[in-house]
């Protein structure tokens, strides 16, 4: 029969050993302490579909083809998330949202994630209680103007009238810009881009304002594109990206790292075509971790290890997505800020390790 203190001592040692083992285990692998994937993922799995809020139609980001199938970079993101979480890119329910309703729909829980060319701003993050998780497109508000008014930069727009779409931040940006430069810029408000463009072509205003991405596409649809030019500078920063409801940190991490995985894939040359092959043949530990051949990034997120591999295989890496929807064969929009940081752009994927 052992004395009480000795027993306590042994128990203490045992606990210590167990603690050390656990410490080791946790440093080697976070898996044992990883919390469950969070309420949003649980709801998605139970439902068997991701509810993705998208634009009701905007070139390059979200639009339907003749058969009614959705395309666009926002759509690709939705499908990539569905592939990572549910294992099937087709298990997405797309909900078209208008500018006025999008955030309420998200707050109300109708959608799990909003990927709708929406600018990430201070107000949306704080007042609206949303989490701005990732940026999938850097845009800025620019001007498309009639060449004959002889303006070469935005600061020269003194006295000009610009046709503007209501409901977004466009109006506010013009007012801010006018205030900061002391220029007087008249605005003519419209509900729909088509109406504004028609008014502009009819001469009711001297130009039109929108995200630079849309302007290039818009100019090509004008009756005489050569009469119009896109001014070189942007008067605002419009980082467009992914919003979720605040309150589910686990869900936020999944979306955040998924975005990083898509951009990292481009950085490391992992494409839709070679992803499977690289998973078995690559020597690069980063690629092996990304594709789930090594490490346990999946467990840490509450997913399985092939989450990023599946996401990449939906529509390719970020660069491939961009090329499909904005590249030379599509809207012909130069990558500019939307390139990787290694090529002079702003996308800087964080290391997955």
């Amino acid at each position: 029969m052992t004395s009480l203190p000795a027993r306590a001592l042994r128990a203490g040692r045992l606990a210590l050993a167990a603690g050390a083992a656990m410490f080791l285990a946790t440093t080697v692998a976070q898996a044992q302490v990883a919390p469950p994937p969070g309420p949003t993922v649980e709801a998605i799995k139970k439902r068997g579909a991701l509810n993705c809020g998208i634009d009701t139609g905007v070139p390059g980001f979200a639009f339907q083809d003749n058969k009614g199938v959705w395309h666009g970079i926002d759509i690709d993101y939705c499908r990539a998330i569905a592939a990572a979480v549910l294992g099937d890119p087709d298990k997405v329910k797309f909900t078209g949202t208008t500018a006025a309703a999008r955030f309420t729909v998200l707050q109300a829980g109708e959608i799990d994630v909003l990927i709708r060319d929406s600018t990430l701003t201070f107000t949306r993050s704080t007042v609206l209680g949303l989490d701005e998780v990732a940026i999938n497109f850097y845009a800025g508000q620019g001007f498309l103007v009639r060449k004959s008014i002889g303006v070469s930069k935005a600061a020269d727009l003194q006295g000009a009238t610009i046709c503007v779409i209501t409901g977004a931040t466009l109006e506010l940006n013009i007012a801010d810009f006018a205030r900061s430069t002391g220029a007087k810029i008249g605005t003519l408000l419209f509900d729909k881009p088509e109406e504004a463009i028609a008014a502009m072509e009819a001469g009711r205003c001297d130009g039109y304002t929108d995200d630079t991405g849309s302007l290039a596409g818009m100019r090509s649809t004008l009756k005489v594109p050569a009469d119009w030019m896109v001014l070189p500078e942007a008067i605002s920063k419009e980082p467009l990206g992914l919003h979720i409801r605040s309150g589910d940190a686990r869900w936020q991490k999944i979306i955040f790292w998924l975005d990083n995985a898509l951009k990292s894939a481009e950085e490391f040359g992992v494409t839709k075509a070679n992803a499977d092959q690289l998973k078995s043949s690559s020597k690069d530990p980063f690629i092996l971790r990304l594709l789930g051949a090594e490490g346990d990034t999946g467990k840490a997120l509450g997913l399985d290890e092939a989450w990023a591999l599946r996401a990449i295989k939906v529509a390719g890496n970020y660069g491939e997505m961009y090329d499909t929807h904005f590249g030379p064969k599509a809207l012909a929009l130069p990558r500019g800020q939307n390139n990787l940081y290694t090529k002079g752009g702003l996308h800087y994927p964080l290391p997955i390790r």
Partner: protein, 352 residues
């Protein structure tokens, strides 16, 4: 001097002559260009807008052709579209029956108001009787406009009748309740109510309770239309001479019989023009649901011009939508006038 009355109307006086000449000049100025755009230089075959522009200067109808199915069915699965056709056929056959039959008209109307909505709901939504389920987010295009307006109209009739009688009730609770309901729903813009239903309702519902978007729009449109219907029917009720009810009472009928068998049928007949007016209005109002994210015909058109292959063809899209809406409303109006004529001849033939 005997001139044709038309001639007198157009050129009878100096004022008329000036107006007529001005109008002729306006037409001469506008119409040829329009015809050239819509027909003469129109392009019917092209894979995208660039091909259209390269071919000719007129309207690019190839756009409408390429998206025709989308405009009518939305993204309803191709293999299941026969269900849409069958549902429409059911509506047309029973609707025609209700319009033109002289016998058992009540049964036809009852079938139109009850059987058709139920049968079409099962047919379109599926998920039972071996029909694969088609989620409502895949319903779209003109089909959605028809579904919404028909359901709202069928649902608004009983609501309208109940509220109309309620407003004439001698019980203050019912009377003021009905007045409150009618005035509230008539006093708020439809768009506001749609937003309330689609956007704010989920905030009040317990978590996890999810009411289908389309169902919400349907409920809102139905109640909204019901409030207007109530006033139209109340107008009809007021138009029935009091002698009718008195005579029925004198014959020994009791209160409910008097209202249902004698007053209401006459009131409805008087209200037909107003009801048709509501139906036409309602059909056009259904396009408002595109603002809350449902893809009705207008929603699909608005979204179709965002496809990079076709951007910039808003004029073609909206002209097409206008033509479709015009003909649909024309059908409703014609149906209404048939109904009117039919019912005005009713008393002679109606059996005891």
């Amino acid at each position: 001097m005997t001139r044709h009355p038309w001639f007198r109307a157009l050129f009878g006086s100096k004022g008329n002559m000036i107006v007529t000449l001005l109008m002729i000049a306006l037409f001469a100025w506008v119409v040829p260009g329009l015809v050239r755009w819509a027909f003469g230089h129109a392009v019917w075959e092209a894979a995208n807008r660039a091909e259209c522009i390269a071919t000719d200067t007129g309207a690019c109808w190839a756009f409408i052709k390429a998206r025709f199915a989308l405009f009518f069915y939305g993204t309803y699965p191709v293999d299941e579209r026969w269900r849409v056709h069958l549902g429409l056929a059911l509506l047309v056959v029973i609707g025609t029956g209700a319009l033109f039959s002289h016998r058992r008209r009540g049964w036809w109307l009852l079938a139109l108001m009850v059987l058709v909505p139920v049968a079409d709901a099962i047919l379109l939504a599926g998920g039972m009787l071996g029909l694969p389920a088609v989620p409502t987010e895949r319903w779209g295009g003109l089909m959605l406009n028809l579904v919404i307006s028909f359901v709202a109209l069928a649902g608004a009739m009983p609501i309208g009748i109940a509220l109309a009688f309620g407003r004439r009730s001698s019980w203050p609770v019912i009377r003021y309740g009905s007045i409150g309901l009618i005035e509230f729903w008539r006093g708020v813009p439809l768009l506001t109510v749609l937003f309330m239903g689609l956007v704010l309702l989920p905030l009040f519902l317990p978590n996890g309770v999810n009411v289908d978007n389309l169902v919400r729009a349907l409920v809102v449109m139905t109640i909204f239309t019901g409030a207007y219907m109530a006033e139209t029917i109340r107008g009809g009720l007021q138009g029935v001479p009091p002698g009718q009810a008195e005579a029925a009472l004198a014959l020994g009928m009791h209160g409910t019989q008097v209202q249902v068998l004698v007053v209401l049928p006459q009131a409805l007949r008087l209200a037909i023009p107003g009801i048709i007016n509501i139906a036409v209005d309602l059909f056009k109002d259904t396009s408002l649901v595109s603002i809350v994210g449902l893809f009705d015909l207008m929603g699909v058109v608005g979204q179709s011009v965002k496809d990079p292959a076709w951007t910039g063809l808003a004029a073609e899209g909206y002209v097409f939508a206008a033509v479709v809406f015009f003909f649909a409303c024309l059908v409703i109006s014609l149906g209404g006038s048939v109904l009117e004529r039919h019912f005005s001849s009713a008393p002679k033939e109606s059996k005891s």
